[in-house]
Symmetry: C2
Subunit: 362 residues, 2 copies
């Protein structure tokens, strides 16, 4: 049996295959793949939440430096993360692909397995999508979720005096990307199911943070249920860029305490070997997909202390200030800090300033 | 003032621009563009309907043979059509674009004007999307709608003895594409707002059917409210391909009466000049976006006669047969007919057979 390619199967048998294998019927899905639109049961009295994200080959990823399973999982995770950042419950997923005609069916199956295993673990149903031939691999994901109206958390709402929290260490994903750029991905690094396989477990763990980010859905729900967060966003563009989005929507300023930003042990060990200013990976690297939220410190601590079952790490990393104060970064020694780059803009790329200052980018 | 390009504005100012101009707040949209996900009010006790379609430059369209306004409108219309084919009410729209960095802001504005004018006329709200740089122009649209559960119409449900109906003439869109291929688009053909401007009104009308298809939302709702259609689909891949989808889902066969397939006057006049077998444009050309549905003939006629306000053309073009009969095509003289091609498959392109038989494709 030779290698079977997409063009050998054709569009309609491919849709049938995806439908049979990865789109199971359920009480939530009267009709999923196989009709003009999916028809879905929606919980009454909830707000509907919808988000979409596109990943394009050679812009967001290269086929050489990931594996299909992890790419599939990531295409769902980045969308789940947006629902998590609203405090919502993700429920339905649509996945549209532009696929090169010579792409293999077995790779596509691994891609969908990556999608469906994450989907199952989160109680999310694949209910539709669109397939087309394309010179580049293009992925568009849509997640639909819901939330009780009194629990939804927006980017706006942060108040001066609130503390700023993150749900986990930052910088690993950006470091993973740096390592991938320099070391490359080796065939022995990951199994077809995305499990790390090589010897360098710690290094591969960092790479994996970039290739298959988490989606803090459980954390987002807990924060929503605690009902004291005033604003929330997920960290996809980078801590600075996303904090800026939050304070702009909330019309406030912020002090950020650099020494309080949580970093993983692996990060502390490997980052200095791959980047001149590790803190800038944590500040501007993006794709960590931790949640960033604001809340009155005492109320949050009080609520946390009274709900014993909650076992969630919240790291305070700064405080909300009045609008006129803008965003300020402070070192442990209470000195102001200017990062060497500010995050990625899709149409401009990394800012020129960083290219000059950081020899590793040249 | 020089020509402003996407890269001069950058991602975040572009999002702000789209939000300010094309995404108005409303009672349905507590929060649209500008957060991690849109939060939306959903009517209680309705089924949620979701569909997505991708248009990729040089696969689905070329920038040379359309104008931004009509491309924008089409990217919404093809999704509205899928909601119409369920009998649903479209309500929300998400639009993700991959845009070449050198694309001009004024073209992008015209694109969004095409989107938003159709959206307004249909009561649909632009609530989100994603923007990325891309070598090709890539459009992914998502429409979310709703429908009372007892009115939704699926592809499955057709019964032997039902008649097969379409809502309008077929073949114009495919003919429009043929004309575009041979004649090309001229700068004088359409104004920036998509209005036909040249002398050849009739010819441009046919081209326009391809560039900016209708979405039969009103017709879909009327069919749903009549509550006698047993199955429905929109004609996007071509009459034969989509009828085949419908009968496969319904596990039935069908007789199609070729002489009953409605064709426009303009089609009858121009098609013979551009295609050897005009009937094959109507059968296999695709993109007409008329609705195809099945219903018991007497009940439909009875209901139509009793609801005077309904002014909708329903053309009977065949009948549903038992599953064993498959799909048969009949001429006026009751002879069987084999079309020269069967419709487009995204990963295989047009079947070889058509390329051999039809010299105009070579």
């Amino acid at each position: 049996m030779g290698r079977t390619e997409i063009k050998d199967i054709g569009e309609f048998r491919l849709i049938q295959r995806i439908r049979d294998r990865y789109s199971k019927p359920s009480e939530f899905v009267p009709r999923g793949i196989g009709d003009d639109a999916a028809s879905l049961n929606f919980p009454p009295n909830h707000l509907l939440l919808v988000t979409t994200d596109t990943l394009i080959e050679d812009i967001h990823f290269t086929l050489k430096s990931t594996i299909p399973y992890l790419l599939g999982a990531k295409s769902l995770a980045v969308n789940l993360s947006d629902i998590a950042a609203m405090g919502g419950i993700p429920r339905f997923f649509l996945l549209s692909l532009g696929i090169p005609k010579g792409y293999s069916i077995s790779s596509l199956d691994r891609f969908y397995r990556g999608v469906s295993q994450l989907a199952e673990s989160q109680g999310v149903f694949l209910v539709g999508g669109d397939l087309a031939a394309s010179s580049k691999f293009i992925i568009n994901g849509v997640v639909i979720g819901h939330c009780p109206p009194d629990q939804v958390i927006y980017r706006k709402g942060a108040q001066p005096g609130d503390y700023i929290f993150v749900t986990g260490p930052l910088g690993d994903a950006a470091l993973g990307l740096e390592i991938l750029r320099k070391r490359g991905l080796r065939p022995s690094d990951f199994g077809a199911n995305g499990k790390t396989r090589g010897k360098d477990k710690e290094l591969l763990g960092i790479i994996r943070r970039h290739l298959s980010p988490p989606a803090r859905v459980r954390e987002g729900r807990k924060i929503a249920e605690l009902a004291c967060a005033t604003a929330m966003i997920d960290i996809s563009d980078g801590l600075l860029a996303d904090l800026r989005h939050l304070i702009e929507e909330s019309q406030v300023g912020a002090n950020l305490w650099l020494d309080q930003i949580p970093r993983s042990e692996a990060f502390e060990k490997w980052a200095p070997l791959y980047h001149l200013r590790p803190i800038d990976l944590a500040l501007s690297g993006g794709e960590d997909y931790e949640l960033l939220f604001t809340a009155p410190k005492e109320i949050l601590e009080d609520k946390l202390s009274r709900s014993r079952e909650i076992d969630l790490p919240f790291y305070p990393i700064g405080e909300v200030t009045p609008h006129s104060k803008k965003l300020s970064l402070w070192t442990k020694e209470k000195k102001g800090y200017s990062p060497s780059w500010l995050g990625y803009d899709h149409f401009r790329g990394p800012p020129k300033r960083s290219l000059k200052k950081d020899p590793q980018h040249s």
